[in-house]
Symmetry: C2
Subunit: 466 residues, 2 copies
């Protein structure tokens, strides 16, 4: 029985999907104005494991992720330049080229981490008509207002459930958080649904309120409604998105749809670098490219999964190096099992079955990957002490490892196997030895037979040796 920690109730709850056997899941994707970094690596690995485990449990999962390619302002609220347009100026290309460039880099990096593509990756700019319709609905219902300047805001005070997710009341909003006080807002806590485009703004669309572009929060409310319906199962994101982003999503969607937005809100924790927050201005910003230049992406993934998605994670080079070294040992165990069984895994029984059971129990308990990994390491220890004759046992253990490969998205098989070059070399060595022995035995007929066959096949590698 799968339990998920729900940010709404701040406790673990039994997971019950709306439609039996199916799950609708939405995770806030990247704003595509810069290279993917360690924060992306963590967040999307965390949700990839959730996606994988739901599939492992037999659910048909529709996993939607957005690409924010417009409307996310530098201030992270309602002020500043559009992040994508700002980067476009810097690189002297079209903002759409910026968005596509960094969307591509994002998916490339995630692919290296063995993160599965979502079922649908949807761009904010792909749902402008639906955004405009939802904003209009919010206005019609009396929760949105249009200003003289042509902006549309959500009137927070009118929505009684505001704070349901973040537990922030309007009062502590105002004291605790820097809130933009745009000139034309009725109240400082109101947030933009639609922004009037300045003259030089490049990404803009016609709307009932003049040429403009969507506020940052509205795209997620629109995309979830379009692809997952008015109420859906799981909404994910980083805890830094709880307020204001997800709080605003809830408000918009509940007003527009007149029903509950989402059943389970799942948030992964932040990361620090050598104990401090990661940030461009802090000089400790680590891109995936830098990371992968130094470490095997599978080692990075293994490192990430050593932490519960709900724990803070501190990144240090030493910690990743240690994790990578440990991961190599797991791969060695896998190789041993493969060699012993000639790759033939079997249904786990006995000890192997117990371990698999404990791994799924760990995962059922709010996706407890560190505990699952502890069990995996216990398995590795057993593999280490396996004697040559224990092939049947090895087959069951291999079966467990293959399931873990899927669930955690780790690749135990080294890259070297996939390129069969190694086998080819071994085979050539064997053939060379056999020919040499045949010649010693003066069996020239068979020795020449081999030579002719090789020539026939156009195999010239290491001819001299043969």
């Amino acid at each position: 029985m799968l339990k998920i920690y729900n940010s709404f109730t701040k406790q673990k709850e039994v997971f019950r999907p709306i439609v039996e056997g199916k799950v609708g899941m939405y995770v806030c994707g990247p704003t595509v104005y810069g290279p993917p970094h360690l924060g992306h690596a963590r967040t999307y690995t965390n949700f990839d494991v959730i996606y994988r485990y739901l599939m492992y449990k037999g659910y048909k999962v529709k996993y939607v992720q957005n690409i924010t390619d417009v409307g996310h302002l530098v201030g992270d609220g309602d002020d500043g330049e559009d992040k994508i347009q700002k980067q476009a100026k810097k690189e002297d290309i079209d903002p759409y080229e910026i968005a596509y460039k960094y969307e591509t880099l994002y998916f490339d990096a995630m692919g290296k981490l063995n993160i599965l593509k979502p079922s649908i990756s949807a761009r904010a700019t792909g749902v402008i008509p639906e955004i405009i319709e939802m904003v209009q609905t919010i206005i019609d219902k009396g929760y949105g207002y249009v200003t003289k300047a042509g902006n549309v805001y959500f009137s927070v005070r009118k929505f009684k459930n505001y704070g349901q997710l973040s537990r922030r009341t309007l009062d502590n909003n105002l004291s605790g958080e820097r809130i933009t006080v745009a000139d034309d807002k009725e109240a400082p806590e109101d947030f933009a649904l639609w922004k009037r485009a300045e003259k030089n703004h490049l990404m803009k669309w016609n709307s009932p309120w003049g040429e403009g572009y969507p506020g940052w929060h509205i795209e997620c409310s629109t995309l979830t409604k379009k692809f997952l319906g008015k109420t859906f199962d799981i909404h994910g994101g980083g805890i830094d998105n709880i307020f204001p982003h997800h709080e605003c999503e809830c408000a918009q969607s509940e007003v527009a749809n007149g029903q509950k937005f989402v059943n389970y809100f799942v948030h992964n924790n932040l990361l620090t670098v050598n104990g401090t927050k990661m940030g461009k201005s802090l000089g400790n910003f680590i891109t995936c490219e830098e990371l992968f230049n130094e470490f095997d992406p599978m080692g990075v993934r293994y490192f990430i999964l050593q932490f519960s998605y709900r724990s803070p994670m501190d990144f240090t080079k030493k910690a990743i190096a240690d994790a990578s070294a440990q991961f190599e040992k797991i791969k060695d165990a896998y190789k041993k099992l493969e060699n012993m069984t000639h790759g033939a895994s079997d249904k786990p029984t006995g000890e192997a079955e117990d371990i698999l059971k404990r791994i799924t129990e760990a995962m059922d308990d709010d996706f407890n990957t560190p505990l699952a990994i502890a069990e995996l390491l216990r398995l590795v220890k057993i593999v280490g002490s396996l004697g040559e004759g224990e092939v049947e046992k090895a087959k069951g253990l291999l079966g467990v490892m293959q399931k873990v490969e899927f669930i955690l998205g780790l690749k135990f098989e080294g890259e070297e196997k996939r390129s069969s070059g190694e086998n080819e070399e071994k085979l050539m060595d064997i053939i060379a030895e056999v020919r040499s022995k045949l010649r010693q035995e003066k069996n020239y007929a068979l020795s020449d037979f081999i030579r002719d066959k090789l020539q026939e096949s156009g195999i010239t590698v290491k001819d001299k040796k043969v």
Copy 2:
């Protein structure tokens, strides 16, 4: 001086971009309802080389490609089901999941062929407001009409330039081509700008003409305008797109924009498989996945470039195998140069400079890749006869090869091991035959020696056969 064959004028013309140093290029992308196939491999390799060569010439190229994720009907005209929605029913998932799945497979396959991503990959569903605006403009100018059924058509007879690209007059349209006669069309040659959605249609948007979706042609007119402006430099696609697709694009854009649509229309030729047209119904449909299971993608790319983009290309397995074998020799030459120079290339002089000159002359002549390859093979021959001491010469030749790598998008640096699966199988066959012969000769010692050696190496393939 670069010359490009322009389908408008049916002759090679000196290429002169609208803005000096910059090129705007648009190529019709895939309709994402099925796996990428040999046809995609050819078309997007052809245009990738054009993109690369323009960059090599120093142009800043904005290369836009579309993803048709809505509105391409099974009839390829104005009738039949939406191709994506049809596939969605078949796979029992959301049409947006179909579109994203096959978009992903498309780019994966193109990536294996070393095809660069375009500057912008834009989805038809991403420009619905802009499509609606353009359709409205066409109606306003008197070239489009709305029917009682809620469809919007382009009135072909009103547009005097119709046929400017395909040279088809209305009369031979009617005789030569199957044209849908939808009930509500004023004339059979008219084509849909906007289709009213049937009740069960899933991908639809509100419009001034009711809920519906765009006709197939209008997305390209909209995307080019949005990303490249009213008039741009190069529009590409397969020759099968000349009529009706590109002819209709020209009509729509010229009416809506009141100016010339595009300066150079570039079309690549079709391919045949063993002499006949490739088609799913014909049973000779080859997906990229099938292709790459058997052949190294770089061998496939080399094969494609042996043909001018304007020539028909006949695919046979033997021809790709031959091309792949020849390509291996080119890689060997590269390896020899790398070994001789320790990877230090130099500015080409003398013979190397001459070859580079002839290669760029070939490319300047309407991207004549077969001629460029002939020069490359001449270079390979020179490399073959290089003596050990000729390091300086080797550096220049390596410099040429590196430039060719960029221009043609070929990777000379070997991953030759990757494709060694084939040899492995051949070697296993030889070993199996040898063991069988040894057993016939009652040479069990050597037969068992082979078996043990195989086990030792962890090679399990075809165990039984051995």
